[in-house]
Amino acid sequence: MTRFWVAVLSLMLTVGASQSDAKTFRYAYRIDPASLDPHALAETFTLSWLGQIYEPLVGRGRDLELVPALATKWEQPNPTTWRFHLRPNVKFHNGESFSADDVIFSVARMKAEGSDMAYTVATVTEVKKIDDLTVDFILAKPNPILPLQTTSTYMMSKAWAEKNNAAMPASIKNKQENFATSNANGTGAFKIASRQVGVKTTFVPHTAWWGPKENNLTEVVYTPIQSDATRVAALLSGEVDMVYPVPQQDAARISGTGKHQLLTGFELRTIFVNMDQSRDELLESSVKGKNPFKDKRVRQALYQAIDMEAIKSRIMGGTSNIAGIMVAPGINGYDKKLDVRLKYDPDSSKKLLTEAGYPNGFEIGMDCPNDRYVNDEKICQAIVGMLARIGVKVNLLAQTRSKYFEKILSRNTTLSILGWQPLSYDAHSTLQDVINTPKDKIGTYNVGSFSSKKIDELTDRIENEVDPAKRQALISEALSIHKDEIGHIPLHQAGLAWGVRKGVSVHLRNDDSLELKWVKVED
């Protein structure tokens, strides 16, 4: 019973405390981060959310440009070494000082079994301590984009992790709970005050944070709200100050209240169509004995039969950005000159099909997720209708993401849509993971097994090319070859929309990441 009265008393105290000049920012997103362990899952939202608590050596600014975080400057003394000069007087949330040992420890932890972040430091063979505030990342071969790749490479405290038996990330093999899954100790501008998994997380500012204070928050409350309608209602009723994503159908409702505003942008994720180009006979098709997608004319016919303007205006509410190449504006390596779509021209599509030997078209199966990308299923349905006009009958299978990814990643698919946002925000990832010929760790998401030796070669050179101008030329060449070959059919980048209460200022960055350090609550 004592416990009860203590609880009641503490509740009264909190009520009393909130009377003071507190600036609380309450926000909601669709899901809760999977884990507090910064090395557990390389997923965009989890990493962005954890970026409030943990920090990398090199961070991202308001326009995604590289900015100093835990490193004040970085340079390449030679092509296979990156030297990072660490920021002095950085404190972890528990008061420990940050130093070179923590960097060495964190990189080793990221490479350990159970970590999902090994890819960010895959090229690093060793981290050498020069002194307490200088580290050298030694590489097997030149890697010009290491700083780009490591903006989510979060630093943990060696002493804290070892003390709490969390020196290794949680591994499914030992089936044990890891301390770092439910507890956090970073260097970021905010620290966790309380957390109930899947329900609510409260942050408070890290008073010893090194950076300039650009926010005026005293408390932050994060709540995942899964249902779109409820999330929007929570904003409109004033229970939260900001929600994202705002579903398209509610955009007008939010900007129309006069008390809220809608911030918009474009995703960095490009949505595209995969076509199986490797099998000699398609899995789900009426064409027997050959694979029509091996013929570029057929791929082009499909491409030119898809009316992206119609999809933009009718399905995406005018918010999408139509894509002509596989990388989005804002991604390093993006080339505006190439970003032009082939003309929508169903008549020439029909001609191309006739030339290729399919005057009456053919029948194929298509896979589509229905809960992964913005309007994914509707886009697929529209494509089905558009392809029917040129005689290609598509049997659509739209299903939930677990089922969908299981099917397409086992290459058990003929036609499908997919989205790709490079975690490094660099075109090399798109080339390596989506466009290169599948082999070992390469081309994992090249579901249609498009293959071009020339692009594979170029990708290898891009990986090691240190000169930025030359590197850009190589990327543009690779993207241009892929475009000519029609390896995939690029569709668009979906629009981003955040709903914010007036009197609260947040910065919408195009990677859909909310940075609490830039949030101001004016009244």
Binding site: E43, T223, A233, E239, T444
Partner: protein, 329 residues
């Protein structure tokens, strides 16, 4: 009585095992959890290694036996999605769902019975017709739509009640309750109404029908002939006799309410078991789903066992196997 008890108990164990096996057979169709557990940078080989480490390649029956072995030693496994023990997640979420279900049942009963009596006694009044129409709406409209409409009216337009969550909760030992704080009570109103509306309509209609039946009975006529006041006739004699089937229905519907909470919890972001389960289905979080389904099966089986034993205690014919009371009802 002893052999009867053992017989029923062994049946219960069998039912729970069968439910667990069926749910394991279904997990093949919820999709591949591995692709949700790793980021996009993981290679196909990494995924395969993980799949093998999780034992997802093994035949269903082997996975099932492994689950049974671990569960019997008290280990329900670690959630694929959250990386924390499943048992802890379920116990953390259980109070929210139970409180919501109880409140919904309370709403349904406290509104359903008096309104049912009212509509039976004043059949021709306009208010009765309106109530009957509304109860039809309660039965016909899908729960999520009612929830969204209530949110729109009471949260967005009027700003009286919260649209999501549980409000502030107080921890009493291992139990978190929202019943002791103002915000917790306010947060309960809309979800309880939404969840209870269907049951309320059901109870209202049942009470009305039973009441009309009873009011025609001879003993009511005699009671009136004796000059008893209306209130005594209606409430002491008529209503009391209608309550037996109503109580049975309330008992049976409680299970339904618990299950229907999945929809309501999603609409109101109510942090209970239903929300946890719906998210786990999307993620294909097999350990959590397995534990939840077995827990629910166990709950229903135990409830039925208790009812069976009660029947047996009341009616000796059941224990001697002369007649099955359950089969009749």
């Amino acid at each position: 009585m002893g052999s009867f008890f053992i017989q029923r108990l062994s049946q219960t164990v069998f039912v729970v095992l069968a439910a667990a096996l069926v749910s394991f057979a279904m997990f093949r169709y919820v999709g591949d959890p591995v692709n949700n557990m790793v980021g996009q940078a993981a290679s196909m080989a990494d995924r395969e290694t993980m799949r093998r480490a999780l034992g997802l390649d093994d035949p269903t029956i082997l996975q099932f036996l492994r689950f049974l072995r671990d569960a019997l030693s008290g280990d329900l496994g670690v959630s694929y999605r959250f990386g924390v023990p499943v048992g802890r997640l379920l116990t953390e979420r259980f109070p929210a769902t139970l409180e919501l279900s109880l409140c919904a049942m309370l709403v349904a009963t406290l509104l359903g019975i008096p309104l049912g009596v009212w509509t039976a006694l004043h059949r021709r009044r306009v208010s009765s017709h309106v109530l009957m129409l509304l109860s039809l709406v309660g039965v016909a409209l899908p729960t999520f739509l009612i929830g969204i409409v209530l949110i729109l009216i009471f949260s967005v337009w009027l700003g009286w009640l919260p649209s999501f969550g549980r409000g502030a909760t107080v921890a009493l030992g291992g139990w978190t309750t929202g019943l002791l704080t103002v915000s917790g009570l306010k947060a309960l109103v809309l979800p309880s109404l939404t969840l209870g509306l269907f049951q309320m309509a059901l109870i209202l209609r049942l009470v009305r029908a039973e009441m009309l039946e009873v009011l025609r009975a001879d003993y009511i006529k005699f009671a009136r002939a004796r000059g008893l006041p209306n209130r005594a006739v209606n409430y002491r004699h008529a209503l009391k006799n209608t309550l037996v089937p109503v109580i049975t229905i309330i008992g049976l519907q409680f299970g339904n309410i618990f299950a229907f909470s999945i929809v309501v919890e999603t609409v109101f972001q109510w942090p209970g078991l239903g929300l946890l389960v719906i998210q786990s289905i999307q993620f294909a979080d097999v350990p959590l789903l397995a534990a939840y389904l077995v827990m629910i099966a166990l709950g229903f089986a135990m409830l039925n066992l208790c009812i069976d034993l009660l029947y047996a205690a009341i009616d000796p014919r059941v224990r001697t196997g002369m007649v099955s009371a359950r089969a009749r009802s």
